[in-house]
């Protein structure tokens, strides 16, 4: 189930909210646990068992880590076993096809290929369960006494399928002691509206523009292709950050407070800054559980470079079982290394506008790598971004660009903190509730209209 669907908003969420607030506090986690499974299992119920399996393994792992903890060395055994199990499950379900394909490239190998359905959200919840055992081992968080509480954390539907990756230590206390209140609920509703608007009104439209451009790839012209990839750049940000906003908003509605996942990444003045603002929960996870344990930056430069490359290789691979994601990760790893050791002093001297342009070009080109799984198509697209022999902009591309022009402008404006600044100035005003309420109504009405329309398909060649 996704948040931007009729079934989620009008059956699932309505039901879940209603019952959640009827159930006495003691029963709320159990109720959440079961509706989480319903949310997750909707459409492919079998995968629920995989998630339950993962929950149980990590719960037991955490228990033994805690039990052995007086002797740190001994505690390492259950820790390592659990982490291996987690990575093993992830590798098996997500990467086995890719690994086999890679091995088969070698001479004399001919392993049977197979493809497994990727369980939704497995990358997210595996990282969450891993954070649990590691946090327990490091004494950063208490061990969970209740399997239901722990299961509720892992399967919590707001962040289950698209993040943010909530570390156990950030919610351990909330799991047992949260107190839902109406002000937090109201904040949650507003945040959810912002997220829904980002997803349905901007991301989907920008995605449609990018798809329309793809249909005429080859004669879009240089500008046409840049507008196309700008559309994809907008789509991916508003899709992802919209989803995170909805997740945080939903969390608020149920009394949880999650950390911010995006902080206006597209206004960054360097790639280093970009990654401090983009998908913060993932970068934090890699920093805490991979980069720092590897020695981080407290070691010699060659080792630091090695550490960075490992982290960025993994970050890329995490995004998907395809080589272009690894390439995308290493692309950022390399740029970050260059910025860190060479460029940063030079960048600081540049005028702001040039630093923005530099960053924007880097992340837009990055999205090209991210989008194209087919290396040939990727190469062609890169060439088309600079090949003026195709003209500036094709006739079809011009039509597409002008149809989505206004939304593209709105999207660009919405990438900046402009809206938030205005809102923060007005929020103490007496009548701000009118603006807020109107905003909610507009987003709800237009989003639902867009969702309903997806299902509307007149059948022209009817007969009885």
């Amino acid at each position: 189930m996704v948040f931007s669907s009729l079934i989620f908003l009008f059956e699932y969420l309505a039901f879940t909210l209603l019952v959640y607030y009827i159930v006495p506090r003691k029963g709320r986690n159990i109720f959440l646990f079961f509706v989480n499974l319903l949310f997750y299992g909707w459409g492919e119920p079998v995968m629920v068992f995989l998630m339950l399996f993962s929950i149980v393994i990590n719960y037991i792992g955490g228990y033994f880590v805690e039990k052995c903890k007086p002797d740190k060395k001994k505690a390492k055994i259950p820790l390592v076993l659990t982490v291996i199990a987690d990575i093993g499950i992830l590798a098996f379900f997500k990467y086995s096809a890719m690994i086999i394909d890679t091995i088969n490239l070698l001479p004399f190998f001919n392993l049977p290929t197979f493809s497994l359905a990727l369980p939704i959200g497995i990358s997210f919840y595996t990282f969450q369960t891993m954070s649990y055992v590691i946090d327990v081992y490091r004494d950063d968080a208490p061990v969970s006494r209740s399997l239901i509480d722990f299961g509720t954390y892992v399967a919590l539907f707001p962040q289950l399928i698209a993040g943010p990756i909530v570390r156990y230590k950030d919610v351990a206390f909330q799991l047992r002691h949260r107190r839902e209140n109406i002000l937090q609920f109201n904040r949650g509703v507003k945040l959810f509206m912002v997220g829904l608007g980002k997803k349905v009104l901007i991301a989907n439209q920008m995605g449609a523009m990018w798809d329309a451009m793809q249909a005429t790839a080859g004669h879009n012209g240089v500008l046409g292709n840049w507008i196309g990839i700008a559309g994809y750049t907008m789509q991916i940000y508003f899709d992802f950050s919209g989803y995170s906003d909805m997740a945080c908003g939903l969390g608020n509605m149920f009394g949880f407070q999650f950390l911010k996942n995006f902080n206006y990444p597209y206004i960054s003045k360097s790639v280093t800054e970009f990654w401090r603002r983009w998908h913060i929960s993932l970068s934090t996870w890699f920093r805490e559980y991979v980069y720092i344990p590897l020695g981080g930056n407290r070691c010699k430069i060659p080792r630091q470079i090695f550490n960075l490359l490992v982290v960025w290789f993994c970050t890329g691979l995490w995004h998907g079982a395809s080589y272009n994601f690894i390439l995308w990760g290493l692309y950022y790893g390399l740029i970050l290394i260059i910025e860190k050791f060479v460029l940063h002093k030079f960048l600081e001297k540049l005028p702001r506008i040039l630093r923005h342009i530099y960053t924007i070009v880097i992340f837009m080109l990055g999205w090209v790598i991210f989008y194209f799984e087919d290396m040939g198509k990727m190469g062609n697209f890169f060439i088309s971004l600079f090949n003026f022999s195709d003209g500036i902009i094709g006739a079809e591309a011009l039509v597409v660009a002008s149809r989505y022009f206004l939304i593209l402008l709105i999207a660009i404006a919405a990438c900046t903190p402009l809206g938030a600044t205005v809102y923060n100035k007005l929020r103490e005003k007496k009548y701000i509730w009118i603006a807020e309420t109107l905003f909610c109504i507009i987003v709800l009405v237009i989003s639902v209209a867009a969702m309903v329309t997806q299902s509307y398909n007149p059948f022209l060649y009817f007969r009885f």
């Binding site: 009729l6 039901f15 909210l17 079998v46 149809r403 209209a449 309903v452 509307y456 059948f459």
Partner: protein, 379 residues
């Protein structure tokens, strides 16, 4: 600051999701959507196997989509929102001036050449004189109504290539561009506002062009009594979601001499044959989409015999554009048999031979012809 009013967003949100959820559950469900011309989804069967393989869940979502409260209102809101944000044509239909709703042009990657080759091969097999006619697209003829920003209508390049590809073959090609442009410039309404078909006037114009091409005398316009019916909402209307577009009028041109005694209409669907005695099926005038008033809409084979006409036996391969032209054809040919390749799956050449036809006619709208995937089965 009023604390309670600050909570209004939550109240709005909760009311919205609870009321619509409840309405979905309690409102009676329709079986059929007249604007989409399709049956809506039934509640899916729930048992262990459908739930575990996900088909129940998919079916339920479809059911929810199809029966969502105020469904058409939402579709309208979406259409107008897209329009006002500058995204005209989002659902494949441009909202044009003077209340015209016009389909977007066909893609340059189309099946025109494949389908023309099929026709050429077919004409060789039968050896019977064949005439081919394509209705130009609305957007091409009514280009002055289109929005400033629109994709190009490629009728010129398509029709030119059809014409040159048919050169040297036995198929005669009736190019309607000249006469249609001229008639449109004279203020004739050749196309509907809310439907993708040509009007009865458009069909008559095409019919006279066809007669000129074949060297026969078309039935004069004065032979027809015209009846006009209001409140016609056609296909581009229902696709677009622009519900505030004013309805169209549909004209029936009736030759009073073609009485029930003189006209036999036989509709064949599979093994089932049904007889009628009029080419106008007035029961469809009660519906929003009144176009099936002509020969009852799409059928796989339909034969019209007009005993007021002595001779002439024509077999027509057609799409729905031919429907409104059929009453005119019936005034020039004793027997008109319409074959719709989307539904007729047997050998047409056998039909031609057994029926003793002396003419073959191919009539399509250019959009359909460019996307048709059934004509290739012609044999």
């Amino acid at each position: 600051m009023n604390k309670k009013l600050m909570l209004l967003p939550s109240l709005v949100f909760l009311c919205f999701i609870f009321i619509l959820s409840a309405l979905f559950i309690i409102t009676p469900k329709k079986d059929y959507s007249s604007s989409e011309k399709r049956y809506l989804a039934d509640f899916p069967e729930a048992n262990i196997s459908t739930v575990t393989d996900g088909s129940f869940e998919d079916g339920f979502e479809e059911y929810l989509d199809d029966h969502f409260p105020f469904r058409n209102m939402w579709i309208g809101i979406n259409a107008y929102c897209n329009y006002f944000i500058g995204n005209n044509g989002n659902d494949g239909v441009y909202k044009c001036s003077d209340g015209y709703l016009i389909n977007q042009p066909i893609s340059t990657q189309n099946r025109v050449n494949t389908n023309v080759e099929t026709l050429k091969k077919f004409s060789k097999t039968t050896g019977i004189p064949t005439t081919f006619m394509l209705a130009p697209s609305t957007g091409y003829i009514m280009s002055d109504k289109l929005p400033t920003v629109h994709n190009e209508y490629i009728d010129d390049s398509v029709l030119d290539s059809v014409r040159s590809s048919l050169k040297g073959s036995k198929i005669g090609f009736v190019d309607l561009r000249g006469s249609f442009k001229e008639a449109a410039a004279n203020g004739c309404r050749l196309y509907y506002h809310t439907d993708h078909h040509w009007t009865t006037r458009g069909a008559y114009t095409a019919y006279t062009e066809l007669c000129n091409f074949l060297g026969t005398e078309p039935k004069s316009e004065t032979a027809y009594e015209k009846e006009s019916y209001k409140n016609f909402y056609g296909t581009t209307y229902s696709t677009s979601g622009f519900w505030f577009t004013p309805p169209d009028e549909i004209e029936l041109w009736i030759n009073r001499k073609n009485t029930e005694k003189k006209i036999d209409v036989t509709i064949t669907e599979g093994d089932k044959k049904t007889e009628y005695h009029s080419m106008f099926f007035r029961n469809h005038l009660e519906e929003d989409d009144k176009y099936p008033v002509f020969i009852d809409g799409n059928h796989s084979v339909e034969t019209i015999v007009n005993r007021n006409v002595k001779d002439g036996k024509v077999l027509v391969l057609k799409d729905s554009f031919c429907h409104s032209m059929t009453p005119f054809l019936a005034d020039s040919f004793n027997t008109v048999t319409l074959v719709d390749m989307r539904y007729y799956k047997n050998s047409v050449s056998k039909l031609v031979k057994e029926g003793g036809y002396d003419q073959i006619l191919v009539v399509y709208g250019i959009d359909n012809f460019a996307t048709d995937t059934d004509l290739v089965w012609l044999k």
